[in-house]
Point group: C2
Chain length 204, copies 2
C-alpha cells in the first residue's frame, strides 16, 4: 500500500489534489438538481453530494459551494423554497455532466444539454423527464460549514416519482434496475449492479 | 411513473418507509469507521453517509444518529479526536454489514466479524486491514442538525493509504479497480464498474 500524508498531498498541484481527495469518500450519488427563478428561468445542475439525513421526517441534504459553478441553484432555492432532485441514469449521464459547464445565468442548461424539463402537479421547479427517480423538495434549512465556506442545504421530500418496476415489496427502490449511475471522484461515471441485499444484522 | 406524496409515505409502516426513503438519495458510499476508546477497546462500524466536503483543506463528513447503533463510534471520536475511514470492497462486504449488529459496548466488532484491526504509524485508531483505501482522520467539528437530532461529524484527512495500481496519472483513485462497493438503501450492496471519465465540461 502507498501512504500519502497531509503535508505531502497539500503540496500537490491543484487538479491532482482535487482528483485524489474527491475519490476518498467512496462512491457518490449522481443527481440533477432542478430549479426555476422567480422570473421563470430554469436551471439544472449535477451534484454528487446528495445524502440521506433521515426518514421521519424524510430529509435529504447536499453540499453547496457558494463561490463555484452552480450558484443559480442556491439563489433559486432561496428565492422559491422549491427544487427537484433527479437520479442520473446511464442513458443521459453525458448530458448530466455537461450541466457543470459555466453557462451564463440567463441560459437554461436544459436547452444547452438536451435534457427535458418536466412540470408536474403545479410544482414550481422543473423535474428532469429522463430521470427514473424524481423528487419534489422543500427547503428546510441551510447550515453553514465555516471550516471551508460550504453550506449543507437540507430539504424535505414532498413527492417521489419512480418507475413502478423498481419498487420491491418492502419499499426498497432497486436503483440498479433503473440503471442509475454513481460517481467516482469528479468525473468517473460508474454503473453499479446489485450483488445482494443483506438481512438486518444481529449479534451471532 | 408512480407518484407517492408526503402525506402518503408518512403513513407507511416504519420499515417500509425506511427502505423507501433510504433509497431516495441515490447510491451511497460504503465505509467502515474504526475507533479505539481511551481504555483501548476497538470499535468498527459501517456507515453509508461519508461525503466529500472539500479538498483544501481535505475534509470528509458523515452523519451520526446519537440514539442508534454505532454510538461507541462517536464517543470514541470525541474522547480521542481520532478515527479511520476504510472503503468496503466485494471481498468483505458481508463482514462489514455485520458490524451494524448491536454488540455490547465492551465487545470489539473486529473479533465478532472477522475483520482485522491494523495499527499503523502510531495512529491511535485501528484501520481495517482488508480495506483497499484507508484514511487516518482527525476530528475537526461536530455540527448538530436540529431538525432531526442527527450530527454532521467533520474530519480532516491526515493520511491516505491505497493500493498502488488504482492511482491514475492525474491523482484519480479508480475505486472500481479496487472492487469498492456502493450501497443502495439500507442493505443493498452493489458493485460499480467504470463506464468512463468525462472531460471537464465547458459551454459548447
Amino acid at each position: 500500500m502507498i501512504q500519502i500524508n497531509k503535508s505531502e498531498f497539500e503540496k500537490y498541484e491543484r487538479l491532482y489534489k482535487i482528483n485524489l481527495i474527491n475519490s476518498c469518500s467512496g462512491f457518490k450519488s449522481a443527481n440533477l438538481i432542478g430549479t426555476r427563478s422567480l422570473e421563470g428561468c430554469d436551471n439544472v445542475a449535477i451534484f454528487s453530494s446528495v445524502i440521506h439525513l433521515g426518514s421521519s421526517p424524510a430529509l435529504l441534504g447536499f453540499i453547496m459551494r457558494p463561490d463555484t459553478v452552480p450558484r443559480n441553484t442556491l439563489e433559486n432555492i432561496r428565492a422559491t423554497g422549491s427544487y427537484t432532485i433527479n437520479h442520473v441514469s446511464v442513458n443521459f449521464y453525458a448530458a448530466a455532466h455537461q450541466t457543470s459547464a459555466k453557462y451564463p445565468e440567463n441560459i437554461s442548461e436544459f436547452e444547452k444539454t438536451g435534457l427535458t424539463p418536466d412540470f408536474k402537479n403545479n410544482f414550481w421547479a422543473p423535474f428532469v423527464k429522463e430521470s427514473p427517480v424524481q423528487m419534489a423538495m422543500k427547503l428546510v434549512e441551510e447550515i453553514p460549514i465555516k471550516r471551508n465556506g460550504t453550506i449543507l442545504v437540507i430539504g424535505e421530500i414532498l413527492d417521489i416519482y419512480f418507475k413502478e418496476d423498481i419498487l420491491a415489496k418492502d419499499g426498497f427502490l432497486n436503483l440498479s434496475k433503473a440503471e442509475v449511475v454513481t460517481i467516482n471522484g469528479l468525473d468517473g461515471y460508474c454503473q453499479p449492479s446489485l450483488i445482494e441485499r443483506r438481512e438486518y444484522a444481529r449479534p451471532k
